[in-house]
């Protein structure tokens, strides 16, 4: 028998009956069709499935959908404001922070939490924050630059405001 869950995903209320064993990652992908959250491993190492749960970066394959009952989830699809890219998304494009794009949503969501906690990270701090996310294409070089770009941009905007 399923369990009824109520949650907010990208600002929209959702209610579904789900199998208790269903992982949040699969709920997002298969029930809500939000396929921007990717699944790259079965051991919670790769970080392709990172989403924000009440603002915290969480590997959505480590969490059951029923545990998300009553919580607020942001996925990569919900990060841009209307049609305006989030500064981190913009950074990834400007600095060539992605190649195949598969790890990208998880990288961006992880970076979102990093910059929320530490708006002006050093390169070492960025690299440490990405420790739970694998990328096989970029060698991380341009991902670091993408996050630095976003950090600079947010600083400028804050200063400007």
């Amino acid at each position: 028998m399923g369990s009824l869950i109520h949650l907010k995903v990208n600002g929209q209320s959702q209610s579904h009956e789900v199998e208790p064993r269903l992982l949040l990652a699969y709920y997002l992908r298969e029930v809500l069709n939000l396929t921007g959250t990717h699944i790259g491993c079965d051991t919670s190492n790769c970080g392709a499935c990172v989403v924000l749960v009440n603002g915290k970066a969480v590997k959505s394959c480590t969490m059951l959908a029923v545990q998300a009952d009553g919580l607020e989830i942001t996925t990569i699809e919900g990060l841009a404001n209307d049609n305006e890219l989030h500064p981190i998304q913009e950074g990834f494009k400007e600095q060539h922070g992605l190649q195949c794009g598969f790890c990208t949503p998880g990288m961006i969501m992880t970076a979102a939490q990093l910059l929320a906690r530490n708006p002006d990270p050093t390169e070492d701090q960025i690299r440490e924050a990405l420790d739970g996310n694998y990328c096989r294409c970029t060698g991380y070089h341009n991902i670091v630059k993408a996050i630095q770009y976003a950090s600079e941009k947010v600083k400028k905007e804050v200063f400007h405001d």
Partner: protein, 789 residues
């Protein structure tokens, strides 16, 4: 838009990826789709005594279960090998079948035994656990050198000593003579360890049979959709090619591992035909570890001979190449024609002989992984020359400079004929190493190293120079070398009536940025905006044909095919323009998107000419309407990029940990269309090369269990293991393709590995350590330092 070739244009494909709108195979959901769980052998070598599906069959949501017996009874062939390498004595390569599901025996951990198809992924998995299989485990052999010994367990009963082929290249006698007269011989015995490619997107395949039209569609995470269609139709399932559509949508990295035709692709297609509904299989990461083809796995003894002055006089190589349990699509080609042929390197070595034995073992099939053969060749050469420098007490850079082939541009000077079959197109090797040494501050570092040693600080500087063969390659040549396919590329340049351009390319992009680079070429040559060009790839229904994306060939071969199409459009456009302008074709020039009568202001735009081609009211007599050209480009030669990499490491004597402090790379990939993308390719390649040097390696136990088959156990490089890189380039254009490009996809991986290992050995020189086996883990370094092997 003219003059955008050579500019770092931001990628047009990025928007969908950064907003979560990419569409990978597993994202696709078709109406009525079912899900497959493949039951895989957990024994490396076992007889299948019995399979009992009775309990699973009656479970909720289970639609069908197929075993190897069903496949055998349906008369389905195994997946074929695409490259034939025969024995030295002329005997044909041993090529046992690789069935979609095995019926009698399993030959590696992960071999497919049965498939369960159910209404959901979870139900298929539940049911798979209820299928009871009785195995009789058998003794396994996992190392190539052991597999060829008398009495070793046989992977295939009809393949004596597990040898698929033996092969040689070069002049054995001349090399032996040269070595006999050498003043100094450096010997290196090493394992180029087995790597697991680990694209972050697990492989996925959806078979979709449409009974109404008797048509099949296969969605697959492949680098090579067109060839997969040909192989699957003609050699595996025996279904007509025109009834089959293969789609590779967005693909999440490949690095070689998604070139090959895998059993699951044909299996899903066949299952869908049996059931009449779409069937999807997506690998779990543990399946990726077990079943994506692995790379490298060479056991090599190599000797390099020198005269008194330090000139290389000969090179002798013996390699055992582990092919795994079955021959994968390009398996036999990698240790032979992509390895043996690269052993000239950048050096004037006058005598070379290489001998390779291809061996079956009870392990995952081995095939091309980023660099494919060329990293193995480069590692061999660059470790040898560094070890020789150490033994002869000369600077490793100086020894390289002494032996470099002098510059040749392939136009004013002929290409360089190697001792191992290839003819290099163009090369100028000294400047890349000089530049890399400047970038890293080589002389200062040597001083710092000497001072550090007095204080117990272990700084190491490692050089590697490399050459690679890319743009694979002329069909006639590869055919003569055993390829069972041509290696050209196709492109269709379709100018729409409004002057917008759709380009259908046979190359497939899975991260390389084709949608940007190719569009840059078209926009530049036609003088139109990038937004007016669309690149379409990865769908056999819209693209004529393609030979796949690998071997850094997309731009050199695929880009050249586009250039042929562009030339045809401009040629036809000139005829239309001449008619409209009432001028002679010879009096026109095409520039900035318009044809102009030379010396006048009379002109007609690209868009107007396109419209005229489709609305041919006032039109040259006898000229066909339309503006749509298909081209196939078959190159005249491989391309030969080269470069120099320098790694700087510091080794912690207490822990043995290697800290990669700095890494500089100066590569020459010929002309560059998009420097940003090329740099990105180099960065990514470097990390895969560094990964081999310091972190990665598949480990099998004696029974054939892959004991580090997960991300918990297989050490992938992470962001905080690495520094940022410094890259630069020189430009030596390729003389034989229209863009002058050489290819950049594998350079980083090829150069990086020996640079890092050389740096570690250089750091450990005070301890008298001359070699360490990869990956150079803290444990190995610590043991070596503390003399505790």
């Amino acid at each position: 838009m003219t003059n955008i070739i050579g500019k770092s244009v931001k990628r047009v494909e990025d928007k969908r990826f950064i907003t979560g709108k990419g569409r990978y195979t597993d994202d696709i959901v078709l109406p009525g789709m079912l899900y497959a769980q493949i039951i895989r052998s957990h024994y490396a070598h076992a007889k299948i005594l019995n399979i009992d599906t009775s309990e699973a069959e009656v479970m909720e949501g289970v639609i069908a279960i197929f075993t190897g017996k069903d496949i055998a009874e349906a008369g389905i062939n195994g997946v074929p090998c695409g490259w034939q390498v025969d024995f030295k004595n002329g005997d044909t390569m041993k090529e046992p079948p690789h069935p979609l599901l095995v019926a009698d025996k399993t030959r590696y951990m992960g071999d497919s035994v049965a498939v369960v198809i159910a209404e959901s992924k979870a139900l298929a998995k539940d049911a798979a656990e209820m299928v009871k299989i009785d195995y009789e485990p058998l003794e396994a052999v996992v190392h190539a050198e052991e597999a060829v010994e008398e009495g070793a367990p046989l992977v295939h009963e009809d393949v004596p000593n597990n040898i698929s082929f033996d092969w040689e290249l070069g002049d054995r006698e001349k090399t032996n003579q040269a070595m006999a007269q050498a003043d100094h011989i450096t010997t290196l015995e090493f394992v180029n360890q087995r790597l697991i490619p680990n694209a972050i997107e697990p492989r996925s395949a959806i078979g979709d049979y449409d009974s109404t039209n008797d048509k099949y569609t296969l969605y697959t995470s492949s680098q090579n959709p067109h060839l997969i269609r040909l192989l699957m139709c003609a050699f595996v399932l025996g279904i007509p090619e025109h009834k089959v559509r293969v789609v590779s949508p967005d693909v999440g990295g490949g690095f070689g591992s998604k070139i090959f035709h895998y059993t699951e692709e044909a299996l899903m297609t066949w299952c869908s035909r049996q059931i009449g509904k779409p069937v999807k299989w997506t690998a779990e990461r543990s399946e990726s570890f077990m079943t994506d083809c692995h790379g490298r796995d060479h056991v090599t003894k190599a000797q390099m001979g020198f005269d008194k002055e330090g000139n290389i006089v000969g090179l002798r190589v013996k390699t055992f190449a582990n092919l795994g349990a079955y021959l994968s699509t390009f398996g036999p080609c990698v240790p032979t024609y992509l390895h043996g042929t690269l052993l000239q390197g950048l050096y004037t070595t006058p005598a070379i002989h290489v001998d390779v034995t291809g061996v079956f073992t009870h392990t995952t099939p081995v095939d091309a992984y980023r660099g494919a053969g060329r990293p193995e060749a480069t590692y061999l050469l660059e470790r040898l020359i560094d070890k020789a420098a150490l033994e002869m007490d000369v600077d490793p850079a100086a020894l390289r400079f002494k032996n470099f082939i002098p510059p040749f541009d392939g136009v004013n000077q002929p290409g360089y004929q190697t001792q191992v079959a290839l003819q290099y197109d163009s090369g100028n090797y000294e400047p890349v190493l000089r530049r890399a040494m400047d970038m890293v501050g080589y002389q200062e570092l040597r001083q710092e190293q000497a001072q550090g040693r007095e204080n117990g600080k272990l700084l190491g500087i490692g050089i590697s120079t490399y050459i690679e063969a890319c743009g694979i390659a002329p069909s006639a040549v590869v055919g003569a070398l055993g390829a069972r396919a041509g290696l050209y590329e196709s492109a269709q340049v379709r100018v729409q009536p409004t002057g917008k351009v759709s380009v259908y390319v046979g190359s497939h992009s899975h991260g390389q940025g084709h949608e940007t680079t190719f569009a840059q070429i078209v926009a530049d040559k036609f003088g139109i905006a990038m937004e007016d060009v669309e690149i379409i790839h990865g769908d056999s229904e819209s693209v004529a044909f393609g030979m796949g994306t690998y071997g850094s060939r997309s731009l050199a071969v695929g880009g050249s095919a586009i250039m042929k199409g562009i030339e045809k459009v401009i040629e036809k456009g000139a005829k239309i323009a001449a008619h409209k302008l009432e001028a002679s074709k010879d009096d026109l020039q095409f520039e900035d998107g318009k044809w102009t009568v030379k010396g006048t202001d009379k002109s007609i735009s690209f868009g107007d000419v396109a419209l005229t081609a489709y609305v041919p009211h006032n039109y040259p007599e006898g000229l066909e309407p339309g503006m749509d050209f298909a081209s196939f480009y078959d190159p005249a030669n491989f391309t030969y990029p080269f470069g120099a990499h320098i790694a700087v490491v510091e080794v912690d004597t207490e822990t043995g940990k290697v800290d990669l402090k700095k890494f500089v790379a100066c590569d020459d990939v010929g002309n560059v269309i998009n420097p940003m993308i090329v740099d990105g390719q180099i960065h990514g390649g470097l990390v895969q090369g560094i990964g081999q040097a310091l972190f990665e390696g598949a480990i099998y136990d004696e029974s054939g269990q892959l004991i580090n088959g997960s991300y918990m156990d297989y050490t992938m490089p992470r962001a905080d293991d690495l520094p940022s890189f410094e890259t630069d380039r020189t430009v030596t254009p390729c003389p034989h393709n229209p863009l002058g490009v050489k290819g950049a996809g594998e350079a980083g991986t090829i150069g990086a590995t020996p640079a890092v290992v050389n740096a570690v050995i250089d750091a450990l020189a005070p301890f008298g350590i001359k070699d360490l086996e990869m990956p150079v883990t803290p444990e190995k370094v610590w043991k070596a330092i503390h003399n505790n092997p």
